[in-house]
Symmetry: C2
Subunit: 203 residues, 2 copies
DNA sequence: CGGGGGTGGGTGAGTATTCACTCACCCCCG
DNA sequence: CGGGGGTGAGTGAATACTCACCCACCCCCG
């Protein structure tokens, strides 16, 4: 019974619960009582493991951020592989970026409701040298390398191209949550279209 | 003294106050008491003019949305004017879009903290047949007309190009508020760069 | 023409509820 | 038996919202 779900340590369950509530009912309704109930423990237990509610949220944002791994992997792979075309790689990146942003959007946007929490999170994040812009930097760097390897036009603008591709995916994720799935194209047709147009801009 | 500031009707002052607080201290701290104090009236007066706090917020979001006028004007102007190049028009659109999104971002993103409020707002907005996607539709339509007039390449993808340009401006606005001004390019260099790359993709 | 009374807008002082957070206490494992 | 992890029952503060009341204004009727 080592793997029974109740064996999962309480702090983890609290982080899980907080994340789940932030995604579903929203930051405003993610109260300490609701989080404790969702985690299956008492409110007082929360304060045995976290100094206060804000610390819990900050740790959720730092540790339970949607998994950027696949996206970063898609960003780093590629340039050494001359078999795959750049456009296909861009489509793959657009696919991963669309999924990642769709995942991250609700929690990230929630922070705008509480500027104090946003500031705390920003400080923690920039002390770690990370942040949402690393994705953009990674794609820009990747494109710069592609250009230097002669696979892009010599006057291509890697940073701007990266901003275009990721920005389109980002805004699509926003529409998805803000207006509903019916106003956005499905990823399977969106990602290749985006890749095609960006590729046309830099080849 | 008809134009004295206290002559501004109370409901307007409440809407002003609510908007200001949403922008500055955030939706979470925009309490009825704070709004009333900011508007210079009592809390009870708020309930003479609005059924509840949510109705006040919804009306702020519907009526005090950042002015999309200049952006929509920049989007509609142009195709009849053969003197101006498409790229310059795109740069102008990118400039206006960057400003508009930077203005709208805090209030729009705040909604993610309260999904119930988001749903109410979505319903109100789509009953009016509007929404954030109209900007994208307008630019896509504009580009389609340019293409049909032969000023773009015949296989240009207007909808995707619009998503790229506006998405880049949208994400820039997000970075601006989320991470600070130091991680984004100034508009004066960002807008032309975006326009140049998009133009390269569709010409 | 004067005054009685409805009315829209405003207020101060509440109310019930909910919030984040605390405390005294307990259980059980090493 | 000591202490980390857990709890039930609070605490004061803050929240959204209400209530009784007020006042200036206007309309209309005697």
């Amino acid at each position: 019974m080592l793997t029974s779900k109740s064996s999962r340590p309480t702090p983890e369950r609290l982080l899980d619960a907080a994340e789940k509530l932030m995604r579903t009912v929203g930051l405003a309704s993610a109260t300490t009582k609701a989080i404790a109930r969702e985690a299956g423990c008492s409110e007082a237990a929360l304060y045995k493991h976290f100094a206060n509610k804000e610390e819990l949220f900050v740790r959720v944002l730092m540790e339970r951020t949607p998994n950027a791994g696949p996206l970063m992997a898609a960003l780093q792979a590629g340039p050494g592989d001359p078999g795959a075309g750049v456009e296909e790689a861009l489509a793959d990146i657009a696919r991963h970026a669309s999924l990642f942003y769709a995942d991250a959007m609700p929690m990230a946007a929630s922070l705008f409701a509480d500027p104090a929490l946003l500031t705390r999170h920003r400080e923690g994040v920039q002390q770690l040298g990370t942040g949402p812009h690393v994705v953009l930097d990674a794609l820009a760097g990747r494109l710069r390398r592609e250009r230097d390897a002669g696979r892009l036009g010599p006057d291509a603008d890697p940073r701007t191209a990266a901003a275009l591709l990721l920005g389109a995916c980002f805004q699509r994720a926003f529409f998805l949550h803000f207006s509903g799935a019916h106003v956005v194209q499905p990823v399977e047709e969106f990602a290749p279209a985006v890749a095609r147009s960006v590729w046309a801009a830099i080849r």
